[in-house]
Symmetry: C2
Subunit: 221 residues, 2 copies
């Protein structure tokens, strides 16, 4: 297993903190990034309280990104483009994994937003052309990641991207979450399908009062 230096931008939010917890527990070195270094350090302390030997710290976003091999964007879509543009210099050349779900909510429930660049992941790639963008981890429940202990081994992490090596990093990082490799779902533009699929799961959750996940059948697990 390769151990990565992972910066989780949006690391104080439920999705980012949940993923960071899983990676820290799996031996990766994690820095949580936030607009506020204090809030990032606080969230890091929450993880350390649960995983005493974890390598977890908190920093402002730019500092978190600067020291990382792999940057995970676990931020709301609202403000995403500005945030990526502001970090463009630090993101250059890095593996960047976007977990961003551009969703809207109305009386009928969740729905996929129209994204001018096709998907959040493609938008980030256009903003930082040298970054090696991957889309992954869109569908895992933040609540389950953080509150439960076990692997999410009934679901799959779907990974898309145009850079095979960058994609391999996300495929490996999935092991900390589902206990198995992520599933290579193809080119970066497949993020147009992966991102709004979260609306389907939210809709199922509401109807069945559950936390649903997506599994791919027909693979040699």
């Amino acid at each position: 297993m390769t151990t990565y230096d992972v910066a989780v931008i949006g690391g104080t939010g439920p999705q980012g903190k949940g993923l960071a917890y899983r990676w820290a527990r799996h031996g990766h070195r994690v820095v949580l990034g936030s607009r506020s270094a204090e809030r990032a350090q606080q969230a890091a302390a929450e993880i350390t309280a649960r995983v005493p030997d974890a390598s977890v710290s908190g920093a402002v976003n730019a500092d978190a990104v600067a020291g990382a091999d792999v940057v995970v964007l676990a931020v709301p879509y609202d403000g995403h483009d500005d945030l990526v543009a502001a970090l463009a210099e630090q993101l250059a050349g890095k593996v960047v994994i976007s977990c961003v779900n551009p969703l809207g909510f109305d009386k009928q429930g969740a729905y996929g937003l129209d994204v001018p660049g096709g998907s959040a992941a493609e938008t980030a790639a256009a903003l930082v052309p040298s970054a090696r963008l991957v889309g992954a981890f869109h569908h895992v429940s933040a609540v389950t990641l953080w509150r439960e202990e076990g692997y999410l081994d009934h679901e799959d992490v779907l990974v898309c991207g145009d850079d095979a090596d960058a994609k391999a990093v996300a495929i490996e990082l999935a092991r900390a979450v589902t206990s198995r490799d992520g599933v290579d779902a193809g080119r970066l533009r497949i993020a147009r399908q992966l991102e709004p699929w979260t609306a389907v799961l939210i809709s199922i959750n509401k109807r069945y009062k559950t936390r649903s996940g997506t599994a791919i059948s027909g693979l040699p697990h």
Copy 2:
């Protein structure tokens, strides 16, 4: 179990014929619809050869629809709008299940097309406002439906629609395919996610040389 009179428009294509075979085997009365009555009857004969006591016949589309409670649109997206418009009179008031996948293909593989009406299912609903539109059965492999015998019990049929009773019909018809109820995935507009999801599965199939399917975890199966 309720037994339905099901018309499968596009019943000579691989997806339509595969679904018709499963429903006929499960005791539903099926009429395959095609532009050519002869081709429809030929496909019906192929099903009868495999399921001798099945109630299966073939007819031109308008006749097939006229005698059915439930109409399944298993046609290519190319030409879909004209076909639905031409059958508007016969479709009025009926349960109409759209399995249509608006996909394009290029060097990078399959991708979801921009659909002016949001999705094929919503477009059909707009063309025939009194029809009770449901989106379902987008993801089941045509090859597996027709060539294999067993239930596709490692995957789920996702069902969306705005008419609860119509949705219940599709949820029940899923049993003939997966051995269990379809999954209620919410409102009709969720078809915007269900239809192009097929591009993800095609992409995974290419990468892993398999026939993948989608299963939802976290449900009480």
